[in-house]
C-alpha cells in the first residue's frame, strides 16, 4: 500500500508532491465532477419511467416496480412488500386500489382476495432500464424525420462549404491577379458581420428565393462563412508552387490541378474544416428557428426546443431525445478529439 502511495505521489522530478499539486488535483477533480455529473445524470434519468422521474428525492439508478403475471388476471400485477398489518413480510400483488385501501392477492394462492391499508406496504423496486423511452421516440414522435432533417442539412451544407471554400482558397493562394487584395478584404469584411445582426434582410432574401420553410433555406446561407476560406488559404500557401508548375508542364488543366493536386494535398486542413462545419450545422439554432416554422421541417435542435416548451412536457421522452441528439457529437468527439482541438485552436472559431 505504501509503495502504491509512493508511486502515485511521485512527480517526474522525483520530488514529493507540493501543496500546490494537491490543490491542482483537487481543482481538476471538482472540474471532472462539475463537467461530467450533469451529463451522467441526464443519461441515467433518460432510462427512468415517467413514474420514476416523479420520485422525490430522486434516486441515481433507474428503478421500476416489479410486476408479476398472476393466474386469473390478464395484465401483470404490481408487487408490494408488506411492512405492517396482518401479512407483514409477505410479497403481495395489487389488484386495485380504492382510496387508502388496496385489494391484494397472494401470488402463491391467487384465489383469495386480501384487503390491506396502503400505509402497510411498500413497492418492490428493482433496477431496470426503461428502453421504452427510446423506442417510443420512433413510434410516437417523428424522431427519424427530425434526425434526417438534421443529417441532410449538416451533410449538404458541409459539402457545399468545403467545395466553394476550397475553390476560393485555391484562387486566393495560388494565383496572382488584379483585385486579390480587394477580395481578401471583402472576406475579412464578412467576418465582422455575423448572421445574428442581419436576420431581417437575410430572411427577406431567403424567402424571395423561395427557400423559406425549406431545408435549403438553412443550408445555402450557412455556407457563406469566411472562416473556412482563411483556414484553407493559410494551409494552401504552404504547398510549394513547383508542384503546380510541374503539373502545368504536363499539360494538366487548372481544374485538374485543383481537384487532383490541391485538394488531396490540403486534406488535413479540409478535414479540420469538415469537423468544424459538421459541428456548426448540427448545433445550429437561431437561423433554423427563423426559417423552419413547420414542424415537419424541424431539425433535432428545434424539435427538442419545441417539445420542452409544450405545456405538458413528458420528461421521459424529452430526456431520451436529448441523449440521442447528444450522441453523434459525443461519438465524433471520442474519435476525432485531437483534430477538433487543433482545428478550434488554430481558427479561433467554433
Amino acid at each position: 500500500m505504501a509503495r502504491v502511495w509512493d508511486f502515485l505521489t511521485a512527480t517526474r522530478g522525483g520530488a514529493r508532491l507540493h501543496w500546490t499539486d494537491w490543490a491542482s488535483y483537487a481543482y481538476l477533480c471538482a472540474g471532472v465532477f462539475l463537467m461530467f455529473f450533469p451529463v451522467l445524470w441526464l443519461i441515467m434519468s433518460s432510462f427512468k419511467t415517467e413514474g420514476d422521474l416523479q420520485r422525490y428525492p430522486p434516486t441515481f439508478l433507474p428503478y421500476q416496480q416489479e410486476t408479476l403475471m398472476v393466474e386469473g388476471f390478464d395484465d401483470p400485477l404490481p408487487l408490494f412488500e408488506m411492512t405492517g398489518g396482518d401479512y407483514e413480510g409477505m410479497i403481495l400483488a395489487q389488484v386495485r386500489r380504492v382510496g387508502l385501501q388496496a385489494q391484494m392477492v397472494d401470488p402463491t394462492n391467487p384465489g383469495e382476495r386480501l384487503r390491506v391499508s396502503i400505509e402497510n406496504y411498500r413497492p418492490v423496486d428493482s433496477v431496470t432500464l426503461a428502453w421504452e423511452n427510446y423506442t417510443g421516440l420512433f413510434d410516437r414522435f417523428n424522431f427519424l424525420l427530425y434526425f434526417w432533417n438534421s443529417t441532410f442539412i449538416t451533410v449538404t451544407a458541409t459539402l457545399i462549404m468545403l467545395l466553394t471554400n476550397s475553390m476560393a482558397a485555391f484562387a486566393l493562394s495560388k494565383y496572382q491577379f488584379r483585385g486579390r487584395t480587394f477580395v481578401l478584404l471583402l472576406v475579412i469584411g464578412t467576418l465582422m458581420i455575423p448572421q445574428t445582426v442581419v436576420l431581417v434582410p437575410l430572411f427577406l432574401i431567403v424567402s424571395e428565393m423561395g427557400m423559406s420553410n425549406s431545408l435549403w433555406g438553412v443550408i445555402i446561407p450557412g455556407a457563406a462563412t469566411p472562416t473556412g476560406v482563411f483556414l484553407l488559404r493559410q494551409y494552401m500557401l504552404t504547398i510549394p508552387d513547383e508542384i503546380l508548375d510541374a503539373a502545368r508542364m504536363d499539360k494538366a488543366s487548372e481544374w485538374k490541378i485543383y481537384w487532383r493536386i490541391m485538394v488531396p494535398l490540403s486534406a488535413p486542413a479540409i478535414a479540420v474544416l469538415a469537423i468544424l462545419a459538421i459541428m456548426w450545422r448540427w448545433n445550429d439554432f437561431l437561423w433554423p428557428l427563423i426559417v423552419l416554422t413547420q414542424s415537419e421541417n424541424f431539425t433535432l435542435q428545434l424539435a427538442l426546443n419545441s417539445f420542452q416548451g409544450e405545456l405538458r412536457t413528458e420528461w421521459s421522452s424529452l430526456l431520451a431525445m436529448t441523449v440521442l441528439t447528444l450522441l453523434p457529437i459525443a461519438l465524433v468527439f471520442t474519435f476525432l478529439q485531437k483534430y477538433i482541438a487543433t482545428g478550434i485552436a488554430s481558427t479561433g472559431g467554433k
Partner: protein, 314 residues
C-alpha cells in the same frame, strides 16, 4: 468530376490561366454577395422604414424614426421611463451579462490552463473533460441544466437533504440570471482554456529555468514572466469572448426563454422577438437594433484583427 472539368477547360481556353481565378472565386463570392453583403445594405433600408410588411416596396420611408424610438428615454438607467422599455432592459441585461460572464469565464479558463500546464498526470484526460461541453448543442446544454435545476431536481434534493432547503431556481429573477451566467461559462470555458493553454505552452522553458536559477518565488515568476508573456493571448481571448458574449442567444432562449419576465432577455432575443416572434412584426425596430449591435461587433472585430496582426508581427 468530369462534368465540371470540361466546362472549366473551355473557360480556361477563353480567359487564360490567370483570369480563371475569378471562376474559382465565383461560387463563394456569390454566396457572400447574397447572404453577407446584400443583407448589410438592406438592413439600412429596413431600419429607415416602417410598417409591418417585409417587402421593401411596401415599406414607407421614416428616416431615423426607428432609432429615435429606440433611444427615446428620459432616464437611460431606468428602462421603465423609455419608450422601448424592452430594448433597454435587453441592453442592460446584456451589459451585465457580458461583464460577469466574460470576467468569470476568462478567469476560470486562465486558472484551468495554468493548472493543466503544470506537471500533472493524465493531462490529456483532464483537458478533454473541460473541453467536451464546447461541442454540445446549445439546446442540449440548456436541457441538461434545466433537468438538474428543476423544482424537484437533483440539486434541490441535495439542498433539502442538507437542510438548506431547495429553491425554485428558474422562477426567481436573480437566480435565473446567475444560472444563465453559470451555464454559458460551463459550456464555453473549455474553448478559451484550450487557447490559453496553447499560449502558455508557447512560452519558452528557458525563461522559467533562468528564473529558477535566480530563486524567484513562484508568485513573482507568475507576475513577472507568465502574465506579461501571456498578455497577447489573453487579449485575443478577451475580445473573442466579448464578441460571443454580446451575441448570446441559443442557450439562454432554450434555458429560460428570456424569463422570468425579462430577467434574462438579451439583445439578440429582443431582435428575434421584434422581427420574428411577435405580431405585428416590427422589422424596422429589429433592423435598427441590429445595426446598433453590428457597430459594437465591428469595433470589437477591428480590435481583434489589430491584435492578431500585432501578435504575428511579434
Amino acid at each position: 468530376m468530369r462534368i465540371i472539368e470540361i466546362p472549366m477547360l473551355a473557360l480556361q481556353r477563353l480567359f487564360g490561366v490567370h483570369k480563371l481565378a475569378w471562376v474559382f472565386l465565383l461560387p463563394n463570392l456569390l454566396l457572400f454577395a447574397f447572404f453577407a453583403f446584400l443583407p448589410i445594405f438592406l438592413n439600412v433600408f429596413y431600419a429607415t422604414s416602417g410598417g409591418d410588411n417585409i417587402l421593401l416596396d411596401d415599406r414607407p420611408y421614416v428616416g431615423a424614426q426607428n432609432f429615435n424610438n429606440l433611444v427615446d428615454c428620459s432616464n437611460y438607467l431606468d428602462p421603465n421611463t423609455c419608450r422601448e422599455d424592452k430594448f433597454w432592459r435587453a441592453i442592460w441585461n446584456t451589459l451585465w451579462f457580458v461583464t460577469l460572464q466574460v470576467g468569470i469565464m476568462v478567469g476560470f479558463s486562465l486558472l484551468t490552463a495554468i493548472i493543466l500546464n503544470r506537471d500533472i498526470r493524465a493531462r490529456g484526460f483532464f483537458r478533454s473533460v473541460f473541453f467536451f461541453p464546447v461541442l454540445l448543442s446549445p439546446v442540449v446544454v440548456a436541457l441538461i441544466w434545466k433537468w438538474v435545476l428543476q423544482r424537484e431536481g437533483i440539486l434541490n434534493a441535495f439542498l433539502d437533504s442538507t437542510g438548506i432547503g431547495g429553491i425554485n431556481w428558474l422562477v426567481d429573477a436573480e437566480w435565473a440570471f446567475a444560472w444563465t451566467v453559470f451555464l454559458t461559462v460551463w459550456a464555453h470555458m473549455g474553448f478559451y482554456t484550450l487557447i490559453l493553454l496553447a499560449g502558455l505552452q508557447a512560452i519558452p522553458r528557458d525563461v522559467y529555468e533562468a528564473a529558477t536559477m535566480d530563486r524567484a518565488s513562484p508568485w513573482r515568476v507568475f507576475r513577472k514572466i507568465t502574465l506579461p508573456l501571456l498578455a497577447p493571448t489573453m487579449l485575443v481571448v478577451l475580445i473573442l469572448a466579448l464578441i460571443r458574449g454580446v451575441q448570446t442567444f441559443d442557450e439562454v432562449y432554450a434555458f429560460t426563454g428570456g424569463g422570468p419576465g425579462t430577467a434574462t432577455t438579451f439583445i439578440i432575443q429582443y431582435i428575434y422577438e421584434e422581427g420574428f416572434a411577435g405580431a405585428p412584426r416590427v422589422w424596422g425596430m429589429a433592423a435598427a437594433a441590429s445595426i446598433l449591435v453590428a457597430v459594437v461587433l465591428v469595433i470589437l472585430t477591428l480590435i481583434q484583427l489589430w491584435v492578431n496582426r500585432r501578435n504575428v508581427d511579434g
